[in-house]
């Protein structure tokens, strides 16, 4: 073992320099060609504000489409899910309470139209998307609060449905993008 220590140590040092120095530098170099230079995709908002396209935001205002519940309250300095088991009584009570709140803010809908993603926390706590049904079920509320025609909101939702990527995976709606355009549309009217 003794005579292997020096070679092992030296090989370790060159490997650290190569795999932790050269390799990340190369990827960083490629990142300079990528959108926003590898600092995360951003969307411009009003008044010089910008948002991260892939990071969900907390939307609890009635005038906005809500995002999903979050175990980290959409604070992206951390991330994580609720880690509640499917048969945990406390968890089920919490889901029931979320459904009740949702019904209170959306009195005109059928309970059976609420999709489960709107009342369950995502894995990251930063999910930028909701399901198509999750957006549709909020249309009546948005139209009422913003005093715009329901068909306008419906058309907006339809426009923001992202179909399966290359024909694979689920449909979804990016809540942030939808809400940005919702504000713009309301202002125009």
């Amino acid at each position: 073992m003794k005579k292997e220590i020096i070679p092992s140590l030296l090989l370790t040092i060159v490997c650290i320099l190569f795999f932790s120095g050269v390799y990340p530098a190369l990827i960083w170099g490629i990142a300079q060609l990528a959108p926003n230079k590898g600092e995360g995709f951003v969307i411009k908002g009003d008044n010089g504000k910008y948002y991260y396209e892939n990071i969900g935001q907390k939307f609890t205002d009635d005038k906005y489409f809500w995002s999903r519940p979050s175990a980290v309250n959409y604070n992206a300095s951390g991330s994580g899910g609720s880690n509640k088991g499917p048969d945990n009584p406390d968890y089920l009570a919490q889901v029931q309470a979320t459904i009740d709140t949702f019904m209170k803010h959306n009195p005109d809908i059928n309970k059976a139209d609420i999709p489960s993603d709107m009342v369950t926390a995502s894995g990251s706590g930063l999910d930028p998307h909701i399901s198509v049904q999750g957006a549709e079920v909020q249309v009546a509320r948005i139209a009422k609060v913003r005093r715009i025609d329901k068909s306008v909101v419906e058309a907006l939702v339809k426009k923001h449905i992202d179909g399966p990527m290359y024909g694979l995976g689920p449909e979804r709606v990016n809540v942030l993008k939808l809400n940005i355009e919702l504000d713009q549309t309301t202002r125009r009217q």
Binding site: E4, G45, G80, G81, D87, D113
Partner: protein
């Protein structure tokens, strides 16, 4: 076909199509044949060996291989501990994260050293960029290289000849990293950059949301990290939420790339064995056994996750997306269920949904994937684990039909069988003893003193559970299973960042990594020295469907006998209660 189902079918088939040519390439790398990457990497490797005063052509016997393996791993352990305990003052720490406590550093250093990547910290707040890149990502490369090098030694030992000389460990190790892991990583990382994964050394950003809240967004050199995390079946996430995080895994395409990246080398190693030893048919038998096991686990998991949670169905809402607790809308229940089983059978341990919130059937199948631990298995080591079962099957099969137990022209005798049995039984031993101790403490609500305190500062053992009853038991069972399988995923509700879990898990990790490497390498080394017996009418044929079924049966019997009681107390009891 339904786009979500089609998505997982594409992932599987794409992996297979890429794995066969990659397997051929890997076989050439280990055989030292000329390949197109020579031009780029030969000069680099030569330079590295010259600096390190290593002669890569010097052949080693199996004991020398293991000596080098353990020596270099020990050095890496000290380096990782240094990073973790000093990251507060070391450079590249824009978010001012602090040094780890010594028990957490012990757990983290071992966990990355052994290719497990169990994480009792969260990447955003627990480690600096220096630690991520120079400590953890470095270990993700070299720990994968270690497992692959050990597999290469076994490949070499199983060729039709009698020898003690089994190649050079440094050579296998470095080439695994430079020729196999690195090129795939560069490709995977580059794709991620264009899908939205960050690669920056800038710290946290602060933005004001549309509603006017202030929000911090962690960034970092993620793309480089996420590539090797999957290509090396390490699984440790850059962020706390791992591949559920929308920057670490931004969309369905990146999800496919990560999925293919993590199963690719485990597949390819099986084919590499076939090409290297010129036993392609046998390789396909092995691959088929693994695939049947994988499908038996993955299909029910997808089905139950898509069905959703019956308790939530009772509340009168709809579940068009299935069980969405802990899952992301952009992946959907199908891709998350597929991932949960893939990541557990191949010992990656990355997650794109929170396993703690999956349905009991899925949870059980994840546990089974790790308990069997060789339906594909991790890079290199998965093949080693499978090899143990093959030895057992050859011996049992030989006895059943009254033929001399032989594998690839070598007699399997008492010594090899003893080693194989010890390795096969040590895995359940570690899992069950660990779970039993933790359950005993929980059931008695023992005052743990220094060893454990919950968020409120109380020392009662039951405080480490996030869920009551059967599911709580599953959390503890999952933790030790994940450690012993060197997997690294978790039922993350478990409060595991405390001396009790950090230290006990670290000990399990060490044993469960190095014994299953030492055992198969020793067996292969002993077999290589034996006289080669040409195939005769008395030989038990191993490259047949019958033998494949026998291997499968041996796995199922060992797993069922060892683990059924524990599974009955956890996920099975939970399922019965819910239905």
């Amino acid at each position: 076909m339904e786009p979500q189902i089609l998505g997982v079918v594409v992932m599987f088939i794409a992996t297979l199509l890429l794995a066969v040519p990659l397997g051929k390439y890997i076989a050439k790398v280990y055989a030292g044949q000329h390949i197109w990457t020579d031009r780029i990497f030969s000069p680099i490797e030569k330079l590295f060996f010259r600096i390190s005063r290593i002669d890569p052509t010097k052949e080693m016997n199996w004991k020398q291989h293991l000596t080098v393996l353990l020596t270099i791993n020990l050095i890496w352990f000290f380096w990782a501990m240094f990073c973790l305990l000093n990251q507060g003052w070391l450079p590249m720490n824009p978010d001012h994260n602090q040094n780890m406590t010594s028990d957490l550093a012990w757990n983290t250093a071992i966990s990355f050293l052994v290719n497990c990547n169990l994480q009792d910290y969260s990447g955003e707040t627990g480690v600096s960029y220096f630690t991520q890149i120079y400590g953890l990502m470095f270990l993700q490369f070299v720990s994968a290289g270690t497992g692959m090098a050990a597999a290469a030694v076994v490949f070499n030992a199983l060729r039709d000849r009698t020898t003690e000389q089994l190649g050079n460990f440094y050579n296998y190790f470095l080439k695994s990293c430079t020729r196999i892991l690195l090129p795939v990583c560069i490709l995977v990382a580059a794709i991620h950059l264009f899908e939205g994964t960050p690669m920056t050394f800038k710290g946290m950003d602060t933005v004001t949301t549309m509603q006017g809240d202030t929000m911090h967004v962690s960034r970092g050199p993620v793309a480089a990290f996420v590539a090797i995390k999957h290509v090396g079946t390490n699984g440790g996430g850059f962020y706390g939420a791992n591949s559920a995080h929308p920057l670490e895994n931004p969309n369905y395409l990146s999800n496919i790339v990560q999925m293919v990246a993590q199963i690719l080398i485990p597949f390819a190693m099986v084919f590499a064995f076939g090409f290297y030893t010129n036993k392609k048919r046998l390789a396909w038998v092995f691959w088929s056994v693994m695939t049947i096991g994988f499908l038996i686990l993955v299909v029910p998991a997808i089905y139950t996750e898509v069905q959703g949670n019956p308790n939530i169905a009772h509340m009168g809402i709809s579940q068009p997306g299935g069980n969405m607790e802990g899952k992301e809308v952009r992946f959907g229940a199908t891709a998350s269920a597929f991932w949960s089983i893939a990541t557990t059978v191949i010992s990656t341990g990355s997650v794109n949904g929170m396993h703690d919130s999956f349905m009991p059937v899925s949870g059980m199948n994840m546990l089974l994937g790790m308990m069997i631990n060789s339906f594909y298995g991790g890079v290199g080591v998965g093949f080693l684990n499978f090899f143990i079962y093959v030895i057992l099957a050859v011996f049992i099969g030989g006895l059943m039909v009254g033929r001399t137990p032989e594998f690839l022209g070598k007699k399997i005798e008492a010594k090899e069988m003893k080693i194989a049995m010890i390795i096969a039984l040590f895995h359940p031993f570690l899992i069950l003893v660990g779970t039993a101790v933790a359950s005993y403490l929980t059931a008695h609500d023992t005052n743990m003193g220094w060893w454990f305190a919950d968020a409120a500062g109380k020392h009662n053992a039951s405080g480490w559970l996030n869920n009551p009853s059967y599911h709580g038991f599953s959390e503890m069972l999952y933790q030790y299973t994940s450690c012993s399988a060197n997997n690294g995923s978790g039922f993350e509700g478990l409060a595991d960042n405390n001396p009790f879990w950090n230290i006990s898990a670290g000990i399990v990790l060490l044993f469960s990594r190095f014994l299953p490497i030492i055992g198969p390498v020793a067996i292969a080394g002993i077999l290589a020295q034996k006289k080669f017996i040409p195939v005769s009418s008395g030989t038990l044929k191993t490259d047949t469907g019958t033998f494949g079924m026998l291997v499968f049966a041996v796995k199922v019997i060992i797993a069922a006998l060892a683990f059924f009681p524990a599974l009955a107390l956890g996920p099975i009891a939970e399922w019965l209660k819910m239905h």
